[in-house]
Assembly symmetry: C2
Amino acid sequence: MVSTHEILRNLVSDLWNKYTRHEFVERLRDGSLPMDVFRYYLIQDTKYVKEMQKAVIKAASKAPLNEAIDVLTAVFSNVERGAEVHERLFRDLSITEDEVNNTGFNLVNYAYTRHLYYYASLGWPQFLAAWAPCMWGYHEIGRYVVGTRNELFNVWAGFYASNEYWSRVEAILRALDKYEVTPDMERAFRDSVNFEIMFWEASLRRDPTVLY
Amino acid sequence: MVSTHEILRNLVSDLWNKYTRHEFVERLRDGSLPMDVFRYYLIQDTKYVKEMQKAVIKAASKAPLNEAIDVLTAVFSNVERGAEVHERLFRDLSITEDEVNNTGFNLVNYAYTRHLYYYASLGWPQFLAAWAPCMWGYHEIGRYVVGTRNELFNVWAGFYASNEYWSRVEAILRALDKYEVTPDMERAFRDSVNFEIMFWEASLRRDPTVLY
């Protein structure tokens, strides 16, 4: 039997490829991504992650208790590991917390995070479907990029490629697999994959960041 | 300077003593608590904990993200430890999950858990004040009871007396201390201490359990 997360991905397999093999990803891998683009991306991603985490807790408050605890512990238990990687990247690129807070969202990032809040308000399975592309896709991307000749890109990819990160993804896919795919879930998943593609593109273009 | 959690406790010090040195507690300590009362209590407590955990996640969805993550990880990261202790007690007393699910709440338990949901809907500091007496008081009680000649009571108390349990309490008190006491918080804290006292009394009386 095909699991819910596999069904969702199979429904959007072309888009999934565009997301995980995007020009942005290829240039992380071959080391040719300009550092100012990576820096721009990292700030937007940091802003994204904070909103995503708030949306996770909001959605978990509507989940069956055992699933909520499983997912929350998987995602938040070793946040230090991700924080360490971020600190290293922030230090090397001279990014401060203040700069992150004083930088706005680009339109794609703002729309994507509001989309996560929207599905968190709709319900737990809908949220899981909206959330999975970001978590799951980054693991694939991390594994694809790891080994790149650029040391910073390699630190970045190493985190997402790690078993520790994969255990977070697994908890989400495990929760998702308890539910049958609905039209809402399919829409949430597909739109999130589209948002991930647009996120790369907005970063390559370094879109204006005016939304707070 | 006196911390928020100390201020709250000092405001209700007589009640706090009634709670943590209640006849129920003294009889756990001297081993004279009838086993059918303990069994009744454990089932009610298990039902309470599930509702409490749901209220925690609900309240955390309104908290500043760093506090939410700090508290959620502290409380949920080692749930297995508490689960093991519970399993041991459940096995020895022949309590099954089905029995817990098919037993209703007594009125005190129902009122107490709805009170937690109510404060979770009001806001994070209010919820922390409502929640602290249960978590914090049980650590004191655990330390007071541990060493009792009754082996089951000792297993029970050992869990609450542990450093692992204390680290959960600390996260809650640390979050609470970021806020100044408000009338809402004082009321929430005081009522919860009263509920804890009533919880012991309802257990000693083995009140009817008709609410679902």
